[in-house]
């Protein structure tokens, strides 16, 4: 078991380093080499600037100095990243980490609510479907789940914006909160904070809904399959013969064993939700990290783009790492098998 934890930690570190390396080379491969392009721009705009100052500026933006040998560039780049220095946005002129710090909470806010909602709805529905396997309810819900799961979430988003945003004008069609709303987050002003949170939630609700509607279908189908498998196990017959209540069987035996395999999937999904936010946030013009990533791409703001990519990857690494470490605690069987699940 000890060995497993060590291996997993090693793997997480290797992953992060590999992605940093990948990011470095991708940055070098970017069309029009951003470092050279930025240097040319600096020289053109400030003809009197000395070579040293220009080098310094380029390095601050990109964390690399194109005149250095490749391995030195690599070391400076990774060294900077490890210190939390993601470079500086070319267009905004502020550190990338600052932009991400401003946008990430909003993405986490929407995506965590969306994930929890979809997971809760999905497993409840899936369990109910499995329990009434073969019934009209099961059949109808299965078809509905497949149908919902087969639509990309951004299409659901477009449809929701279309009808609830523009047609019925029930929901805002973009932004984090109303223009006339003062951001307030303080326990001293509970009313203002509640109003602000409510407003923020109102603005995020369509985004959350479009993610939830699609993902819930997937969770439901997964839970249904797992539950049906568990329902066929011998220990359930034993439990019934022992005279345990149906309720206890449903929650402790079926529910628990059917949800367990989904636990890893849930933690992995947390990371992927960040990546999936790229398109959704664009549809809803919701300024989270995904939104800024596309903005950065269109503006050829490569440091910002790579910074967001790195943050998203590290989020997935952490999610998967926590999943693997805690799985043994939740499911003792995995512990016995040394984590080979």
């Amino acid at each position: 078991m000890q060995k497993y934890y060590v291996e997993r930690t090693f793997q997480a570190i290797v992953t992060v380093v590999s992605v940093m390396t990948l990011a470095f080379f991708l940055l070098r491969l970017m069309p029009g080499n951003p470092a050279d392009a930025y240097r040319a721009e600096l020289i053109q705009n400030n003809p009197e600037m000395s070579q040293a100052v220009i080098d310094q500026r380029v390095e601050r933006k990109l964390n690399v100095l194109p005149s250095d040998p490749l391995h030195e560039q690599y070391l400076t780049y990774v060294g900077g990243l490890l210190r939390g220095d993601l470079g500086e946005s070319i267009n905004e002129g502020v550190p990338v980490s600052e932009i991400i710090a401003g946008a990430l909470p909003w993405t986490i806010f929407t995506m965590s609510i969306a994930l929890l909602l979809s997971f809760t709805i999905g497993i409840s529905l899936g369990a109910a479907m499995a329990y009434k396997e073969g019934s009209r309810f099961d059949y109808g819900s299965s078809v509905l789940s497949i149908l919902l799961n087969s639509i990309p979430n951004y299409i659901v988003g477009i449809l929701l914006i279309w009808f609830l945003g523009y047609r019925l004008e029930l929901f805002p069609t973009g932004g984090r909160y109303s223009n006339d709303m003062e951001p307030a987050m303080s326990p001293l002003e509970p009313l203002a904070t509640a109003a602000f949170l409510g407003d923020a939630f109102w603005h995020a609700s369509l985004l959350i809904a479009s993610f939830t509607i699609v993902a819930a279908g997937g969770w439901a189908l997964g839970m249904r399959g797992n539950s049906i498998q568990v329902l066929g196990e011998d220990y359930l017959r034993v439990a019934r013969l022992r005279g345990l209540s149906e309720r206890r069987i449903a929650t402790r035996y079926v529910g628990r064993n059917a949800v367990l395999p989904l636990y890893t999937a849930l933690l992995i999904a947390i990371g992927f939700a960040l990546g999936g936010s790229v398109i959704l946030e664009q549809v809803f013009t919701y300024p989270g990290v995904g939104y800024y990533m596309i903005e950065a791409l269109e503006a050829r703001d490569y440091p910002l783009m790579m910074g967001i990519f790195l943050v998203m990857t590290i989020a997935v690494v952490i999610g998967v790492y926590i999943a693997d470490l805690t799985y043994g605690i939740i499911d003792p069987r995995a512990q016995a098998r040394g984590g080979e699940h």
Binding site: T15, L29, P152, F272, I294
Partner: protein
């Protein structure tokens, strides 16, 4: 295999000439069996399942449109008709209406299909080949090979796909749909490889694989005869999932405008143009948005139905019921590409 040894024997005996006719006949017989096993029996099973039947019909429709559409239907062009015509307003000239530039919407959908199908095929094949090759190697080789491959697979799996694709598309600016398909599935194969690895691990512990090893069969033949048939369900389902991934990602990225496109617009570009052209605000322009949305949803729905229905195709008991050769000919099991023991695995 038995025919081959017989014909070898015939050569040694010197009456090879007499066995020629017999040999070709049995070869034809063998092809007939192959066709029956890999085409007819699966076909019958697919047809017997409502989900798979609907799914197959939907997919067939798209393939036909992709193959024949551009030949039969005029290419959409700016100002080919009046602007913003609603569906069927001018009879059957513009069945789905036109957009704000006067382009026929049905024409745009049809003309975008071939490149979409190419993208899907490229992505699906790439994922399948990579996933099966990497997964079986890791699962079968074990030891250090397995550990290194698994580490790489896990790393690839962890990298968030969409942002990586966005970056790669920015670097490579691919125009070719096949290259696009490969980029869009750049990290999808890892999931399949991991699944297949664990399947192969459990299969290679089965007694019949042990028996094949003890009989001294070569690793490739054990792979092909004992291991691969058991992972076929995964392969097919993953192919379908990869196809959906390609559709979702490509349409989404074309919609965002981060992928380059030429004169023939993609379904995603259509959505983008409809949204920015105000189709959400004006009721009379709704068809412009609905047409590509419905096209994508229907294709994805067809793929899911098909993969769900074909799940049964690999169930040996269902196969046996629908196959005409397995029951009547009573052929030796070691010759069979679908061992009946396969049902125990999964």
């Amino acid at each position: 295999m038995s025919e081959r040894t017989e014909s070898l024997g015939a050569l040694n005996d010197g009456d090879a000439f007499e066995t020629v006719a017999d040999n070709t006949l049995s070869r034809r017989e063998r092809y007939r069996r192959l066709v029956d096993r890999w085409v007819l029996a699966p076909g019958r099973i697919v047809w017997s399942d409502v989900r798979a039947r609907i799914g197959a019909l939907i997919l067939l429709l798209y393939v036909l449109v992709g193959l024949l559409g551009p030949r039969l239907y005029p290419e959409p062009a700016v100002n080919q008709g009046p602007r913003s015509v609603t569906p069927l307003a001018e009879g059957l000239t513009y069945p789905l209406g036109t957009d704000n530039l006067g382009r026929d919407i049905l024409g745009q959908i049809i003309w975008a299909t071939p490149s979409m199908l190419q993208m899907i095929m490229a992505g699906g094949l790439f994922v399948t080949v990579m996933g099966v090759a990497v997964g079986t190697t890791a699962g079968y080789a074990g030891g250090r090979t397995d550990r290194v491959i698994s580490l790489i697979t896990d790393i690839v799996m962890t990298i968030p796909g969409l942002p990586l694709i966005v970056i790669l598309a920015a670097i490579l600016e691919p125009q070719n749909p096949i290259v696009m398909g490969l980029i869009l599935t750049i990290n999808v194969w890892a999931g399949l490889a991991r699944e297949i690895r664990s399947q192969v691990l459990s299969i290679s512990r089965h007694s019949y694989v042990e028996a094949s090893k003890a009989m001294g069969l070569s690793t490739p033949s054990i792979m092909v005869k004992d291991v691969l048939p058991n992972i076929m369900p995964y392969v097919l389902i993953t192919f379908v999932n990869a196809a959906r991934q390609v559709i979702f990602a490509s349409v989404g990225l074309y919609f965002l405008g981060v992928l380059p496109y030429d004169s023939v617009v993609n379904w995603g570009v259509m959505i983008d143009q409809a949204v920015s052209g105000g189709a959400m605000h004006v009721t009379s322009m709704a068809h412009w948005l609905i047409a590509p949305l419905a096209t994508i949803t229907l294709l994805s729905f067809g793929l899911i139905l098909f993969s769900q229905g074909t799940d049964r195709m690999f169930n040996p008991r269902v196969r046996a019921r629908h196959s005409s050769t397995t029951s009547s000919d009573g052929e030796p099991t070691d010759d069979g590409a679908t061992p009946t023991t396969g049902g125990g695995v999964r």
